[in-house]
């Protein structure tokens, strides 16, 4: 297959080549223009002539399958695809901003930046996982931060779509990926595990925090397998100011067994956003690697077999939702509080991987920019937290499954909606306002949340059978 050499000003299907902006090992990236598509645009062209590694072709085919099926701000928008019968290419949005690769020049990074990056990338992973795709080659050079801080994942050439054929799996005996970030199950050629991306993110965060790659950069398969039994140096041993909670999060991402990591990217993002609510385990306290006796036991004991295989991507995500419950602590009748708890209990009982966020809105009569300086406000805040814990106590949830949040705001509905938009909540449960007079005066919080929330909403009413129904109050204008 002899094709003309591509040069600037060449036109392919209406796209005019400008300059090569990146020489990758498998593909070239050209900046291109098209009269019908506002730019800036990139055209990705596989390097078909150099070595003819079938992986180049197959991974390009995978990306051609997957990228057009992804949408949203966390992936480059796919504009056009060129067939292999003529000139294979992918034209996509040229994402403004820099990749995280540049950050490797000045390591370690400030802790706040590591946490922010972790939140941004976990949020992007959640968006992609929800579209049935596992990235499987997450690394600093494959993450671009938009100017507003939104993380964009690029290069889906090694990715797996849960609902499409996997061309890579049949093709190669060796695992494909990037050695420093590759999850243990990926080393064992399992290609359908979303938690593989969480492992890669954990390896990135450890590298950013300490300046040391947690598993080095092994070049041979035998050395790649070491991560199945050899634990990384705890970040705090290399970076004493790494907070215990961050080490907890990082080491949980780096667990050998996928099921021991966070249940979803959304739950990881949630943990990074709420450090004070991360339950600390032995991981947080660890200051040195496991002793050789433990390592040898893991390596040579045939009874120690890590469980690397789990159900499919869709199943794993569905099994790990974040449920939020909004509790009105001031004028909520006890029957409603109980009904809310019962409903939440039912939801949690059916999905053991679910976690619960208990929300309360502390109403402010004015917009106060810094509540923490106001001792009275601070006390109220603590009191509300205590009341939330009290409400949730009968549910008997393990510490790792529940968090408590007091939101301070003028409008409860706006506060709840803001929270639901910022946190990857799947389902919010809240009570209907009962007193028709209050509802008339204040409007229905549940109505507004139900209308505008970006997730499933359940509005709970205490059982009122046998009680004469009030006529429905007039609907409050939005």
């Amino acid at each position: 297959m002899v094709r003309p050499r591509l040069a600037p000003a060449t036109t392919i299907d209406g796209f005019t080549l400008e300059t090569v902006v990146h020489h990758g090992s498998m593909a070239l990236l050209w900046s291109v223009t098209h009269p019908d598509h506002p730019g800036p645009l990139l055209m990705k062209l596989p390097r078909l002539f150099e070595g003819e590694d079938p992986a180049t072709i197959v991974s390009f085919e995978m990306e051609q399958m997957i990228l057009p099926r992804l949408s949203g701000p966390h992936v480059p928008r796919c504009i056009a695809i060129g067939d292999f019968t003529r000139q294979p290419y992918i034209v996509m949005e040229r994402v403004p901003g820099a990749s995280l690769y540049g950050r490797l020049e000045a390591l370690p990074r400030p802790i706040e930046e590591v946490v922010e990056t972790g939140i941004a990338v976990a949020t992007a992973l959640d968006a992609v996982h929800r579209q049935h795709v596992v990235h499987l080659d997450l690394k600093p050079s494959n993450v671009i931060l938009r100017p507003d801080g939104v993380a964009v994942l690029v290069d889906f050439g090694l990715s797996r779509h849960d609902q499409l054929p996997d061309l890579m799996e049949e093709e190669f005996r060796l695992p494909y990926g990037t050695a420093p970030y590759m999850a243990p199950e990926q080393v064992m050629r399992i290609r359908d595990e979303p938690a593989s991306d969480l492992f890669a993110l954990g390896a990135m965060l450890a590298f950013f925090t300490t300046g040391v790659r947690p598993f080095g950069d092994p070049q041979r398969l035998a050395n790649l397998r070491r991560r199945l039994w050899r634990d990384p140096v705890p970040p705090r041993a290399l970076r004493p100011d790494c907070p215990p909670w961050l080490q907890e999060v990082i080491l949980r991402c780096l667990e050998v067994e996928p099921r021991s990591r966070y249940a979803s990217a959304a739950q990881l993002a949630f943990a990074l956003r709420h450090p004070e609510q991360v339950p600390l385990t032995a991981r947080a306290a660890k200051l040195r690697r496991d002793g050789w006796a433990a390592v040898l036991r893991r390596r040579f004991n045939p009874a120690w077999q890590p469980q690397l295989r789990r159900p499919s991507l869709a199943g794993a995500l569905a099994a790990a939702p974040i449920i939020a419950v909004a509790i009105d602590l001031t004028d909520q009748p006890p029957a409603l509080a109980e009904a809310l708890r019962a409903t939440v209990g039912h939801v949690l009982a059916t999905v053991p991987g679910a976690r619960l966020a208990c929300l309360n809105v502390l109403r402010q009569n004015r917009i106060a920019p810094d509540q923490s300086l106001d001792p009275e406000g601070h006390n109220k805040h603590l009191q509300r937290l205590a009341e939330l814990r009290h409400w949730a106590a009968p549910l008997g949830l393990a510490e790792a499954r529940v968090t408590f949040h007091v939101l301070e705001a003028v409008s409860p509905a706006d506060a709840l909606l803001d929270y639901l938009r910022q946190n990857p909540v799947d389902h919010v449960v809240l009570g209907a306002r009962t007193g028709s007079l209050r509802r008339k005066l204040l409007g229905s919080v549940s109505g507004e949340v139900a209308e505008k929330a970006p997730c499933t909403v359940t509005v709970v009413r205490p059982g009122q059978r046998g009680v004469p129904a009030e006529p429905p109050p007039p609907r409050h204008p939005a």
Binding site: P54, V58, E61, Q64, M65, F84, L164, P165, E170, E171
Partner: protein, 246 residues
């Protein structure tokens, strides 16, 4: 062009009607019926009439092994299928039998081959169940895409860049790109007697523009189809298996 592909209707009127109604919603430009119009189900005459009418309007229809057995009055069939075959043979009128008798074993169109069973020897009615069967079938044709039925289990096989063969279980209503220049073999699954544990009827739509194939699972009146089988005096297991799709 959008092509609605249906196979293994097996005289199941309820399932066929549901698939046709579902397909109408997607406005296909043509239909291709890949064999086994009859056998097992209680409405072979209705199904044959309907397909004949569709062929009159440009649809493709192929011969399947059950159609052939009904014509011959014998075939390599199990006991229940033989009972159904003999019953169907009595039930169908001369015009229906003539129509079945004139159906081709395979049709080629652009880069596509339509065939009921494995393509290396269509009339031997081999199943395409695994990668070896798929490779034999793909090597027997120059066409890039093969669409077949016969197994009642939806599958997709493809020959990749390194000449390896991959197999895939399609997910309902998720279009799979059958990209050039790869060669693909799609097994459709059954309209009238699904056997992959999902009782919903199965058919597929191929879009020649986007080169995407989507399998669709369509719920239908299983109880109605099962009741008709029992009312016709056909073997009970032909009715009960519809509920579990096996």
């Amino acid at each position: 062009m959008r092509i609605a592909l249906m196979s293994d209707i097996h005289g199941n009127r309820q399932a066929f009607e549901a698939c046709l109604a579902h397909a109408e919603g997607l406005a296909p430009d043509r239909y291709a019926i890949l064999g086994d119009l009859v056998g097992y189900g209680a409405d072979p005459d209705w199904v044959v009439d309907r397909v004949r009418e569709m062929v009159g309007r440009g649809a493709i229809a192929l011969l399947g092994n059950h159609d052939e057995a009904v014509l011959a009055g014998q075939g390599d069939l199990n006991a229940a299928a033989t009972v159904a075959m003999l019953w169907t043979r009595q039930r169908l009128g001369a015009p229906a039998l003539d129509f079945l008798g004139a159906l081709p074993l395979a049709v080629e169109e652009e880069d596509r081959l339509y065939v009921h069973a494995e393509a290396s020897a269509p009339q031997r009615w081999h199943y395409v169940l695994d990668a070896d069967d798929a490779r034999r079938s793909l090597e027997a044709t120059d066409q890039r895409l093969t669409f077949c039925g016969h197994t009642h289990i939806p599958r997709l096989f493809g020959i990749t860049a390194a000449e390896k063969l991959m197999a895939f279980h399609p997910v309902s209503a998720v279009p799979v790109p059958l990209r050039r220049p790869r060669r693909w073999l799609a097994v459709l699954g059954a309209v009238g007697q699904p056997r992959d544990g999902n009782p919903a009827a199965c058919y597929a739509v191929f879009d020649t523009e986007s080169q995407e194939l989507a399998w669709h699972r369509v719920p239908y009146d299983v109880a109605g189809a099962a009741a008709a089988i029992l009312a016709a005096g056909l073997p009970e297991m032909l009715a009960t298996r519809l509920y579990g799709g096996h």
